[in-house]
């Protein structure tokens, strides 16, 4: 690396590296592992000499927004095909919270409360199941006697993404070949030509400014973010990452995608628990028919329990945390969890369009990997192994280009990385699942049938449906409707009573209050502190901004508030939303939960680069 000396402290510095990586998750883990494994084997290979800093080894830097490399979120059940290919002698016992998958079960959950938004068809089905009594339904749940192969991950693993990332990072660090910088949010790509309409040529990234106030204005300790110029920029910053979104060619190009907010708890089970490590439960039907849930049992009496609240829920009342609390109290789960203790908590946005939402994978000087590149298989509900594998594929491609002395042009990256990807099992799965979930936009039962069709025919058949923009998936009623008036009234009452809008929404819908026990059933603020251990580094600007606050004032859905994972967005005194950076977990759900985007925008919310967020290593 080389530095451009700067006489004035506040001037922006520039550094040159060979490969700049953005985001450290499974995809980047796969990329850097592939690169360092080959590099360690052939350290003298001239391909590993730096072209940016002659005489030095290849300079590979990775920048991660979170303040620790283990701050990723997800309980994972995965077939681990790609991960095992990278580590043929993988021993799960070496990774805390990891174990072999032993048993998978699928349950349809009945509504023991009577508050869910069930259709008449579902209510009739529930009535029939209850009528048949214990023969079919036990603990208010019906176990599917048979599940199709596409829902199984036989031979797979259960693990925590936080612990897995830490395990990978420790090996990468031990190699001494790459540098991974936590606490380093990246604010923008550097384009060859900033004024060009077609931004397909990237020459590096700019790190976020520090020493600024909440509006981004410099303070006396202002430190402009460094420009990192690179031959190749690897983008693996996830579905709501600043760089990935900035590289989208047109804001509306990818509008109309499916999303879900995944929220989970890690719970320590009571000592007499009988749940076996490696047990996996998938559920649907409760707390709303459209909300899928899971329970993964880790070693040492730990479980990950969570739900996915989709963008196509069709209801602006979408308080994920409250829904999660009702979910864990469902009789099927509660009998195992009730004396448990909250160990960790977290949430993230999941890009659920899969290949349908695939952006441009390569350009001159950049390549995308992982979830943000549309690699998730929405039929099998699998993303981590696919993300890892796209990283491996790019790693192999980069090795090929380095050894061949070829530059990282769009053409070369397409012929090496994209070609590998298109020929792989990741692509086959992505194609099979491309329209598997479209049917959910026409209703829950329609969606289930569509998934089954796609799964059983290898994607040849599915129930396609028009995918509306995210803003229209929330609800399309106007302020004149009864729904609008009700929501407005709830918002006003919540404000007057000094309680959160998030909670008030579900209480008004008939959901019972949560019987807090201070151990497992805790307030959302406690979940942030004792579960997510949320941190916000000082000196960064607010990374969530509202473009047109007048639009926000006239919005009655207020779904950005309802869905905010950390209650970081609340209703301000002037009826516009207010943002508290210190509570934000960077899930990015606010981005796709705006019902009234300005003209030619997909959201009225700007989601910028920022540091901090979740700090728990057990997520």
């Amino acid at each position: 690396m080389s530095f451009t000396e700067q006489p004035v402290e506040a001037e922006r510095q520039t550094m040159e590296v060979d490969i700049a990586c953005v985001g450290f998750g499974p995809a980047m883990g796969g990329f850097l592992t592939t690169l360092t494994q080959a590099w360690s084997m052939f350290p003298g290979d001239p391909g590993f000499e730096s072209k940016m800093v002659p005489g030095m080894p290849l300079q590979v830097h990775c920048y991660e927004r979170a303040d620790d490399l283990s701050a990723g979120v997800s309980g994972v059940v995965t077939s681990a095909k790609g991960i095992r290919a990278s580590f043929p002698s993988l021993d799960p016992t070496q990774i805390p919270m990891a174990t072999d998958l032993t048993k998978e079960r699928v349950f349809y959950l009945l509504d023991p409360i009577g508050a869910t938004r069930r259709s008449r068809t579902l209510r009739a089905a529930d009535f029939s199941l209850r009528l048949c009594g214990k023969l079919f339904a036990k603990d208010e749940a019906f176990e599917l006697p048979w599940t199709p192969a596409f829902l199984h991950k036989r031979g797979g693993l259960v693990f925590s993404i936080g612990q897995f990332n830490q395990w990978i990072a420790s090996q990468l660090m031990a190699s001494g070949l790459v540098q991974i910088w936590p606490g380093s949010p990246v604010s923008s790509p550097i384009f060859v030509d900033e004024s060009a309409a077609d931004k397909r040529a990237v020459v590096g990234v700019r790190l976020a400014d520090q020493g600024v106030d909440s509006h981004g204005m410099p303070t006396e300790s202002f430190m402009p973010g460094m420009d990192v110029r690179a031959r190749l920029t690897v983008v693996g910053d996830g579905p709501v990452g600043q760089i990935g979104r900035a590289l989208n060619q047109n804001e509306n190009e990818l509008n109309g995608r499916d999303w879900a907010l995944g929220m989970k708890m890690v719970i320590e089970l009571p000592e007499d628990s009988t749940l076996e490590p490696g047990t996996v439960w998938h559920t649907f039907g409760f707390p709303e028919p459209e909300i899928f849930g899971f329970m993964y049992v880790h070693p040492d009496r730990l479980v990950s329990v969570g739900i996915f609240v989709p963008s196509w829920l069709g209801d602006p009342a979408r308080t994920a945390y409250r829904y999660l609390q009702h979910y864990i109290q469902h009789p099927l789960l509660w009998k195992y969890l009730k004396d448990g203790t909250l160990r960790s908590w977290g949430a993230k946005s999941l890009e659920e369009s899969g290949r349908r939402g695939e952006p441009l994978l390569t350009g001159d000087g950049f390549a995308r990997i992982g979830e943000g590149s549309g690699s998730t298989n929405m039929l099998t509900g699998s993303g981590v192994d696919e993300a890892w594998t796209t990283g491996v594929q790019l790693g192999e491609a980069v090795l090929e280009l380095l050894r061949g002395g070829l530059s990282f042009t769009e053409e070369n990256l397409t012929n090496s990385y994209e070609k590998r990807r298109r020929a792989s099992w990741v692509e086959r799965g992505a194609r099979e699942s491309e329209h598997a979930r479209d049917g959910f936009h026409a209703g829950f039962v329609h969606g289930l049938v569509g998934m089954a069709l796609a799964g059983l025919t290898g994607g040849r058949l599915s129930l396609k449906s028009g995918i509306r923009p995210e803003s229209k998936q929330i609800r399309s009623s106007s302020t004149q409707t009864e729904e609008g008036a009700t929501l407005k009234e709830i918002a006003m009452r919540a404000s007057a009573e000094g309680r959160t809008f998030h909670d008030a929404l579900l209480t008004a819908r008939g959901w019972p209050e949560i019987p807090f026990d201070g151990r497992l059933l805790v307030t959302q603020q406690d979940a942030l502190l004792i579960g997510g251990k949320v941190q916000a580094m000082p000196g960064f600007a607010d990374h969530v901004r509202f473009l047109d606050t007048e639009l926000c004032r006239s919005c009655f859905e207020k779904s950005c508030i309802a869905m905010c994972s950390g209650q970081a967005i609340t209703q301000g005194a002037d009826d516009a939303p207010a943002f508290e950076r210190e509570k934000c977990v960077h899930c990015g759900a606010c981005l796709w939960n705006c019902a009234h985007p300005p003209h030619a925008k997909s959201s009225n919310i700007e989601f910028l680069a920022g540091g901090g967020g979740l700090h728990s290593a057990e997520n």
Binding site: M1, F3, Q13, M15, D67, D68, L69, S70, I95, P96, Q163, Q166, W167, A169, S170, Q171, M173, A174, G176, Q179, I180, W181, P182, G183, S184, L207, Q210, G211, S221, M223, G225, M226, R343, S344, F516, G518, V522, T523, D526, I530, K533, Q535, M537, P538, G539, G611, H615, S616, A617, E618
Partner: protein, 270 residues
């Protein structure tokens, strides 16, 4: 008296206190469950010492800071990606076991040997900094023993402030019993200063400083050799974590005044 100082900071790593820590026992003695894969931070007491060292060095041109750390090499490298962004220093790594259950004498011996071997270190300018305690499992004596092994007689513990005079002497504010400070004046280096919290805030991450530091840190880490510490000199009878002092109570309809009054009463009762 020297115008500049050679400041050596001894700093170990400890598990991030925000994570869930579970003590475990094993054939090799007590430990923390999965410690090698837990996120680690620089011991907060020693981190204060590092920030004070960097601040002092910046005020005394010609001064230099070394960070001496006994930790597993791979773990240390990961930690350095954060710590190196906060202050300028040269790393002297000692590849040793993680955890603070080793004998303080063995640890001090390894640290003193490494310090004595630092090329170019001028002992007449030496200020030995460190935490006065370890935030995790320190015996509270390691730094003193390192000082003794290096033959440094002037030692101060629980330091919150140091004011260096023009003649190289300095005034030290030390914590003593009863929540008070003791003021001492030392004629000058060499001296040992075991820091409490100091008065400086944690510097923000500065990638420029970090990248510059890593140019020397990475080669140092590659060259470091493992040390073996004597383990059979010490026996632990039991190990436990302090219990969490946290009570959640859900109340409704309390006014701000009532909440404030209750808080004042609670603080008064503690």
């Amino acid at each position: 008296m020297p115008d500049s100082f050679h400041i050596v900071v001894c700093a170990g790593m400890v598990p991030d206190p925000l994570q869930t820590l579970e003590p475990t026992g094993g054939s090799n003695g007590p430990g923390v469950k999965n410690e090698i894969l837990l996120p680690a931070v620089l011991d907060p007491w020693a981190a204060s010492a590092l920030y004070e060292a960097a601040s002092l060095a910046a005020k005394r041109p010609g001064s230099k800071v070394w960070l001496v750390s006994l930790s597993p090499k791979a773990k240390l490298q990961q930690l350095m990606m954060t710590v190196a962004q906060k202050a300028s220093f040269e790393l002297v790594p000692i590849d040793g076991p993680i955890g603070g259950f080793t004998d303080a004498h063995a640890t001090a011996a390894a640290l003193a040997d490494a310090i004595a071997a630092i090329p170019g270190l001028d002992r007449t300018k030496l200020l030995l900094f460190g935490g006065w305690e370890s935030a995790s499992r320190g015996a509270g004596i390691t730094l003193q023993i390192v000082g003794e092994r290096l033959g440094i007689m002037d030692q101060f513990q629980g330091v919150d402030k140091i004011d260096v005079h023009d003649d190289g002497s300095f005034e030290v504010l030390e914590r003593v019993e009863g929540g008070k400070h003791q003021v001492s004046v030392c004629a000058g280096a060499p001296a040992v200063l075991g820091w409490a919290t100091g008065n400086l805030g944690e510097p923000r991450n500065n990638p420029q400083v970090g990248m510059a530091n890593m140019r020397t840190i990475l080669p140092a880490l590659q060259k470091t050799k493992p040390v073996t510490l004597e383990t059979n000199t010490l026996r632990y009878v039991s190990v436990s974590l302090p219990s969490q002092q946290r009570t959640t109570r859900v109340v409704k309809d309390l006014t701000a005044d009532q909440i404030a009054r209750e808080l004042v009463e609670w603080i008064g009762a503690e």
